[in-house]
Subunit: 459 residues, 2 copies
C-alpha cells in the first residue's frame, strides 16, 4: 500500500513539529510555507521574537526528541521581577519549588524544528508557497509560488492547517455549513522594543526573570535573549488619553517612558528610534468549531485557537495539540475519522479555556502584580500548596507546570479563587496570613467542596 | 463635478432598496447581483419564501414611495394562532389595538423593489456578476460573470455590501486589521414545507394569522401567501432523539407529523414528497464590527447582522439600516466619513440587540406560547399597556410596532420582564390578574424605577 501523503500548510512552530510527528509515523509529509526558508532568514525586527516555553511545550518536544537541543537555547526564568514606579524591585517566583519557564527565540526554535523535520526521509519542505484555496471535495490545495508566480494544484490524503491566526486553511473551512468562527481584537495592541546587551555582552538586568513594569491599564515586559539583550514589549491601548494614538512625537515617547518606566529608560538607548521604526501590532483572538473537516483537514495551533500572549501559552497550547493528536493516533489506531472527531471534541474546550485564561492574565500582569493584597493571596496559596500538594495547586502552576487540561485548570482555578476571596476577607489576614487558623479554614473549604486532588487531574 | 459612482453588491431586498435611496440622492448607482434577474426567475422552492413585514420595514418603504405598491401584495396577520396537540386553537393578538404584521413573498417584494430601482435614470443593474475580491486601496471590485466566465475589475467611489449573511464584501473586510467578526450556527435548522390552497383557491386555515404549533424543543409555523397557500416551516434540532437526523424514512415523517402536528397533516397532501425534496437549511448568526471601511465601504442588512428569523425582523432591520443611513446623510450633509462612522456606531448595537431578541423569541414561540402562565402574563401586560400607554409598551410592540432603537427595546423589555416576574409571583395572580391591586403594583414599580415613557423612546 502506498504511504498516505500529508500536507502541512504553514512551517511555523506547530507545523514544523507536526511534520516531525507525522514523519515519525512513516507518512509522506509535504510542508508548505508562504514565506522563505526561515533557516536562511534574518529574523524580522518588531515581530514577537521570544516566547515562554513551559511544561506542555517541553512534553511535546520530548516526543520528537528535541528537548535537549532546545534546552541549549532556552533561558530559565524563575519568576516575575516587578519594577515599581520608584524603581524598587520585587521578585515573585512562579512556583513554590523553583520551577521555571524558559525564554526562547521564536526564530531559533523554528529553525531547529525545521532542521529536525528536514532530517526525516519522508519530509519535503516547500517555501514561498502560498495556499490560495482548498477544494474540500478532492482534498487538493492550490498554491501560488510567491516568487515565480506559478500556480500549482496538488492532491493530498490529509491536510493540516498550521498557518496561524490568519489561516488560509481555516478561511476555506469558514465556508463549510455549520462551521462556527470568530475573530475578535483587543482594544490594546503592542510594540516591541529592545534593551540591548552591555558592551561586554552581559545582560543589563537580572537574567533569570521575566521583567514586568505593571502600570494598571497597561504594562511593559522584558524577556531575556541569549545574546545579552532583552526583547521588550509595550502592551498599550490603541486609543484613549494614554495610548498609541496619544503618543505622537519623539518628545512624547521620552516623556511617557521617563514618567512611567523611569528605571527602564537608561537601559534603552534606542528607545525613540525603535518606537517609531517598529510597528504597532494588534492582538487577535480566534475561535472556531469544529477544528476538523471530515477525515481530511485538521487545524492546529493559532489557526484553531489564536490567543493573546499574556499567559505565555500560545506556543505551548499549539505544541500540546501535537501531543494530543499523537496520543489519539495511538488510541484509535490511526483511524483518521475517529482521531479527527476526538481531536476537535477534546481540544476545542481546551482552546477556549486557555484563551479565557490568557485574557484574564493581562489584568493580573498589568495591574494585580502591583497590588499588595493580591501578592499576599498568592503567597498564602503558595505556602498552602507546598504543605498540601494533594489539596492545592495554584492556577498558574496548573497551567504552566502541569498537564491538567486547560479547561479543568480554569474551572479549578475559579473554585480556588472563590475560596481565597473568603480567606482574604478575614480582617486579620495581613497579620495572620501564615497562621494555623488560615490553613485550617482553607482545608475546611476544600473538604466541604469534596475537591479532588489536583494531582489526580493530570491528564 | 462628476456624479459619485456607487456600487451596490447584492440585489436582494436591502440592496434594491438602498439603490433607490442612493438614486434619489442623485448618485450614479450600479447594482451587481451574483444570481440572474429575479424578475425573470421562478422563485426557488425550499428557500425562505415569505417574510413578516412590520413598522420599521414600512417606514423604509415609505421613504422610496413603495408603501402602497407593497400593501397590495401583503397579507395582514393580526396575531399568533396557536395549534395545541389536541387541535384546539387559541388566538394571541400581536397588539392591544389590532396592529398587524404582514406576510409578503420575498421574491415578489424583491421584484417590485428591483423594478423601482430600475426606473431611476442613474441606476444600472448587472446580473450574474459575482464579487470575487475588492481592492480596498483603490476601491475597485473584481467581478466574475458566472455565465460567460469573463472577469472585470471596476473602480467606484463607494461600495455597499448588501450581499447577505455570506457576504463577499465582508469576507474582504475580515482581512482588515482590527475587524471583529463572528459566524455562529444554531444547533437547530429548518425545512420549508407547504399547505397548498384549496382547489377553489381559498386558504385552508385562518388567513390573518401566523400559525404556530409550539412543541417545546421545536415548532412548526405557517404564513399565508396570496395564492391561497401557506409556507410552512419546521424548526427542528439537527441532531438528537427527535431531530432531522432521527427522521430517515417516509414512514418516520408520517409518524412524526401525525403524532406531533395532527391537525396540520390533513392540510399537507405533499408532506412526504416536500420533506425529502426540500433542503434542510442551517441558521447562522453573523456579527461584525465596524460595519464600514474608512469612507468607502459599508455593510447593510444580513451582511452586517445576520440574525435568526424568530422575531420576523431580519428584513425589517435591514430596511431600517437604509432609513438610518438616509437620515445620517441628511444630518451630516453627505459627508461620507462622518456618515459611515456614525452609521457603524449607531447601528451596531441595534444589530446585536435584534439578534439577541430573535434568539430569545425562538424559545418564546416554540415553548412559551403554549404556557398558560406566560399567556396570562402577556394578557396582563396588554391590558396595562392599553390603559397606560405612556407607562408601558410590551416588548413585542416596541420591536414590531415602534421605532424605538432595538437596543433600547431590549433593555426596556428586560426591565419590564423583571417587574412582571414579581407580579406573576403573586399567589392570587390567576384570580386577580385584572384587579386594581395588580395594576397599582405595576404602577408602583414603574414609578420607583423612574422609567421614562416608552413613547419618549421613539427615535
Amino acid at each position: 500500500m502506498e504511504k498516505e501523503h500529508i500536507a502541512i500548510v504553514g512551517a511555523g512552530l506547530v507545523g514544523s513539529m507536526q511534520a516531525c510527528y507525522m514523519a515519525q509515523r512513516g507518512y509522506q509529509v509535504s510542508v508548505f510555507e508562504r514565506r522563505g526558508d526561515i533557516r536562511k532568514a534574518e529574523i524580522a525586527a518588531g515581530k514577537s521574537i521570544n516566547l515562554a516555553l513551559s511544561d506542555r511545550g517541553w512534553k511535546a518536544l520530548r516526543g520528537i526528541n528535541m528537548e535537549e537541543a532546545i534546552r541549549e537555547i532556552a533561558i530559565p526564568m524563575k519568576g516575575r521581577m516587578i519594577h515599581a514606579l520608584d524603581g524598587e524591585l520585587s521578585f515573585q517566583p512562579y512556583s513554590k519549588d523553583g520551577k521555571c519557564i524558559y525564554s526562547v527565540s521564536r526564530g531559533g526554535l523554528n529553525q531547529l524544528l525545521l532542521e529536525k523535520a528536514d532530517e526525516y526521509e519522508g519530509v519535503s519542505l516547500h517555501f514561498n508557497k502560498q495556499c490560495k484555496d482548498i477544494d474540500l471535495k478532492t482534498n487538493s490545495i492550490r498554491f501560488k509560488d510567491v516568487v515565480s508566480g506559478e500556480v500549482i494544484t496538488q492532491k493530498f490524503d490529509r491536510i493540516f492547517g498550521t498557518d496561524g491566526a490568519y489561516s488560509a486553511v481555516r478561511l476555506r473551512m469558514q465556508k463549510v455549513d455549520r462551521f462556527d468562527f470568530s475573530q475578535e481584537y483587543l482594544s490594546h495592541g503592542y510594540k516591541e522594543l529592545e534593551i540591548p546587551a552591555l558592551p561586554n555582552g552581559e545582560h543589563r538586568m537580572d537574567l533569570n526573570s521575566l521583567h514586568i513594569w505593571p502600570r494598571g491599564e497597561f504594562m511593559l515586559i522584558a524577556l531575556p535573549n541569549m545574546d545579552g539583550s532583552y526583547t521588550v514589549t509595550l502592551f498599550f491601548p490603541f486609543e484613549g488619553p494614554t495610548s498609541f494614538e496619544s503618543i505622537k512625537t519623539e518628545q512624547d515617547v521620552v516623556d511617557f517612558f521617563e514618567r512611567t518606566f523611569p528605571d527602564a529608560v537608561p537601559h534603552m538607548p534606542n528607545l525613540v528610534e525603535d518606537y517609531f521604526a517598529n510597528p504597532t501590532s494588534s492582538l487577535v483572538m480566534i475561535k472556531c468549531d469544529p477544528w476538523h473537516y471530515e477525515d481530511k483537514v485538521c487545524l492546529m495551533g493559532d489557526s484553531a485557537h489564536g490567543i493573546v500572549p499574556f499567559y505565555g501559552q500560545g506556543m505551548n497550547a499549539g505544541f500540546e495539540d501535537c501531543t494530543y493528536f499523537e496520543a489519539l493516533m495511538v488510541e484509535h489506531n490511526s483511524d483518521w475519522t475517529k482521531v479527527l472527531e476526538a481531536y476537535s471534541k477534546i481540544r476545542k474546550p481546551a482552546g477556549d479555556a486557555i484563551l479565557e485564561l490568557a485574557v484574564r492574565n493581562y489584568i493580573e500582569m498589568r495591574d494585580l502584580t502591583a497590588d499588595p493584597h493580591f501578592v499576599l493571596q498568592k503567597k498564602i496559596e503558595k505556602r498552602f500548596a507546598k504543605k498540601y500538594p494533594e489539596k492545592w495547586m495554584p492556577l498558574y502552576e496548573q497551567v504552566t507546570f502541569s498537564h491538567i487540561p486547560y479547561e479543568e485548570a480554569l474551572e479549578r482555578g475559579d473554585i480556588q479563587n472563590r475560596i481565597m476571596q473568603r480567606v482574604m476577607d478575614r480582617p486579620d489576614i495581613e497579620e495572620n496570613w501564615d497562621s494555623e487558623s488560615v490553613e485550617q479554614a482553607i482545608i475546611a473549604e476544600v473538604q466541604a467542596l469534596k475537591l479532588p486532588s489536583p494531582l489526580s487531574l493530570q491528564d
